[in-house]
Symmetry: C2
Subunit: 121 residues, 2 copies
């Protein structure tokens, strides 16, 4: 039984940047934040994410039926969610299991907060 983590490059400089409501975002910052929102901007992707988030471990093969999409389509969407750092995949045997990346969603939520009580690190 081989376990191989799926690499996700999260070049996040998001941990120490301001909420979107205090001052104008830089071009770079906007690009990075937009990538995350973009991952959540598709209904099918949102539903896939909510399935993964509602469980500990979700096999890819259990995603196709609920959203009624083909296997390549589901694979496409999980890739985008992973690229945004929202989920991580782990290959166990023939199956790939997905989990949400803890804290990533809260980080996004904090970006949206009106006041700025962000926990440092």
């Amino acid at each position: 039984m081989v376990r191989r983590a799926i690499e996700v490059k999260v070049e996040s400089t998001l941990d120490n940047c301001c909420p979107v409501t205090t001052q104008m975002m830089s071009e770079d910052e906007a690009r990075e934040v937009a990538l995350i929102f973009d991952a959540l901007s598709d209904p099918v992707r949102l539903r896939i994410f909510s399935i993964i988030a509602a469980q500990k471990d979700t096999c890819s093969c259990h995603l196709e039926a609920p959203v009624d999409k083909s296997q390549p389509t589901v694979s496409h969407h999980t890739r985008i969610l992973a690229r945004a750092g929202l989920i991580t995949g782990e290959k166990r045997g023939r199956w790939t299991y997905w989990q949400v990346v803890p804290g990533r969603l809260d980080l996004v939520a904090n970006l949206l907060r009106s006041e700025a009580p962000r926990a440092k690190r």
Copy 2:
């Protein structure tokens, strides 16, 4: 000096729906939430929003230069942000002033929270 509010239809059933992390989203719910994230999924739109959010009142004519886009493009983006219920426009004389819709962003942030301590109403 005529004051005319710009109508924004916010057919939100979002106030009493679960975070995206507790159970699978319905198709309808996903469609509505995706609309909001979609509004925030473009770098230019994010920067426009951050400018508006950082001030009380922002004239449309003060948006073009910072993001370096044409007037129709800026108008296009403000329309999408308004459609998502994130900003409201008010026409005063020749100028249109934009403000963030208070609470709307927090509502979105709450959708992303892992736990679900949502203030009722």
